[in-house]
């Protein structure tokens, strides 16, 4: 069941797209708040989309540790086990 990093990245990028109003190019270093300008409402909707896509929970405690795209991919892979 474990997916490779590339696959997880691609699926997350697809989920970012509707929230990426300025069409910022996504790299591991892309930050959600500073670069993509996600506000708290967007974060909630985006996290819900990720959770549904991968059938996982990303608690607020875990979200606090995730600032950029690369960290999110790592967290999703870890949560998937």
């Amino acid at each position: 069941m474990t997916m490779d990093r590339q696959d997880v990245s691609a699926r997350i990028i697809a989920l970012i797209e509707p929230f990426n109003k300025k069409e910022v190019a996504i790299t591991d270093a892309t930050r959600f708040t500073d670069d993509l300008e996600f506000d708290s409402l967007t974060v909630m909707d985006f996290v819900a989309a990720i959770e549904d896509e991968f059938d996982i929970i990303i608690s607020m405690n875990q979200q606090a540790e995730i600032e950029n795209f690369g960290q999110l991919v790592e967290a999703v892979m870890k949560l998937q086990g």
Binding site: D39, S40, L41, M44, A48, E51, D52, D55, I56, I57, S59, M60, N61, Q62
Partner: protein
């Protein structure tokens, strides 16, 4: 160490207040338009639960949460005065040391009787009740599943504890169920809901949500701060109204709304509930409420048990105001009146503040609510009705809103 002191230098430092600069700017910009500070109102004299003197003007109060108008009830006031005479002005101590007087036990018994539950624990404020109960019962490895629009005291209770915090979209049963389903097997689960959400005045589908919570073995805490005394056949809240109070493990409430004083509480039938008095830090490490406060609360709660006529009149007020404001062309937080809160949605903060001020000049006080306290970054004029508002006052209020709305160009 001594070298550093002898050099007597002032190191470069970051001003810890610089994080507040955006808020300071927002406030300065708002006040520079000449509008009265919406967060600096002073009531010079309070005449009744529905009228006060503000800036020398007689003002109808429509933003006080004083739903049942108990603040000037003669029996309530007499009980407070008697307790002042009998027990003094304060307890100067924690409930678990020298701060439990007989009126504290009496008000807890009144709560047990009011809710028909076995245990009641009184805190010094409603904020502390949520803070204390949530942070204490949900610990490391446990999961708290809560509505994203929860009150600050619920969020702070989550933050103070060590549990994993998992929010879901407001009132979304499916979103809640998905999160409960994904929680690892064996983990403790607490679902936190509110009966009435105070910003828009909408209620939760507790019947469905609590059924889902129980299906996944979660304990359920419901904050009924804005429904006590008013909603439900006995005024026990939205859970009672929807017939699911028996499935609620913990009800959180406050004395600072319908009860008409200050304080908070939790009622429960949990067989081990009394241990909370020893382990709940916001209960232990603070002074208990003054005896006059708990005596007024006790009298008020017992009177609220038999307040069917006042409840009926408050519903009439809520329906009349909702219809009047809708007909006048205002956009409201709910399409139907669901509680004693009617929330009027403003186009932005500037016009919201202008409207608030125009209403004050008309002689009407409402709450201006702005982000981040509001959902979806809305600016709201929040109206909370009182059972003591007369039908004439409600008509006056509708007229004031209409004139103010036209004056600041919110109504077309």
């Amino acid at each position: 160490m001594t070298d550093m002191i002898s050099e007597n230098q002032t190191a470069e430092h970051t001003d810890l207040f610089s994080k507040f600069d955006p808020l300071i700017k927002m406030r300065t910009d708002l006040l520079s338009t000449g509008v009265t500070d919406p967060f600096g109102l002073v009531m010079e004299r309070v005449i009744s639960p529905t009228v006060a003197m503000c800036n020398g003007r007689e003002t109808i109060l429509l933003g006080t949460y004083n739903y049942m108008g108990m603040t000037f009830d003669p029996d309530v006031i007499a009980a407070g005065k008697q307790a002042l005479d009998d027990f003094g002005s304060g307890t100067t101590g924690s409930r678990v040391l020298n701060g439990t007087y007989s009126p504290h036990k009496a008000v807890e018994q009144a709560l047990c009787d009011f809710y028909d539950m076995k245990h009641a624990m009184v805190f010094s404020t409603g904020y502390q009740a949520n803070l204390g109960i949530i942070s204490t019962i949900a610990g490391k490895g446990d999961y708290i599943v809560l509505d994203i629009d929860s009150h600050a005291s619920i969020w702070d209770g989550c933050k103070m504890g060590d549990a994993e915090v998992v929010p879901f979209k407001h009132n979304d049963i499916e979103a809640m169920e998905k999160r409960l389903r994904r929680i690892p097997e064996g983990a403790g689960k607490l679902v936190v809901l509110e009966g009435v959400y105070s910003m828009l005045g909408d209620i939760a589908p507790l019947k469905e949500m609590i059924a889902v919570a129980k299906k996944y073995g979660a304990m359920v805490l419901v904050d009924e701060a804005h429904s006590m005394g008013f909603i439900g056949p006995n005024g026990r809240g939205v859970a009672e109204e929807q017939g699911v109070l028996d499935d609620v493990d913990f009800v959180i409430g406050t004395f600072s709304k319908s009860v008409g004083t200050v304080g908070g509480f939790c009622v429960s039938n949990h067989p081990k509930f009394e241990v909370m008095r020893l382990v709940c830090r916001p209960y232990v490490f603070t002074a208990s409420l003054p005896p006059s406060v708990v005596a007024t609360a006790c009298t008020s709660i017992r009177k609220l048990m038999d307040a069917g006529e006042k409840r009926a009149h408050l519903w009439e007020n809520s329906k009349t105001l909702h219809k009047g404001l809708t007909d006048a062309g205002f956009q409201l937080g709910t399409t139907e009146p669901q509680s004693a809160i009617i929330s009027v949605i403003m186009p932005d903060l500037e016009r919201g503040a202008a409207m608030w001020e125009a209403l004050l000049h008309e002689g009407l006080y409402v709450n201006l609510a702005r982000p981040p306290a509001t959902p979806a970054n809305m600016t709201l004029l929040r109206c909370s009705l009182c059972a003591e508002h007369s039908a004439e006052q409600v008509q006056q209020i509708i007229g004031m809103f209409t004139r103010a709305g036209e004056a600041v160009n919110i109504l077309g």
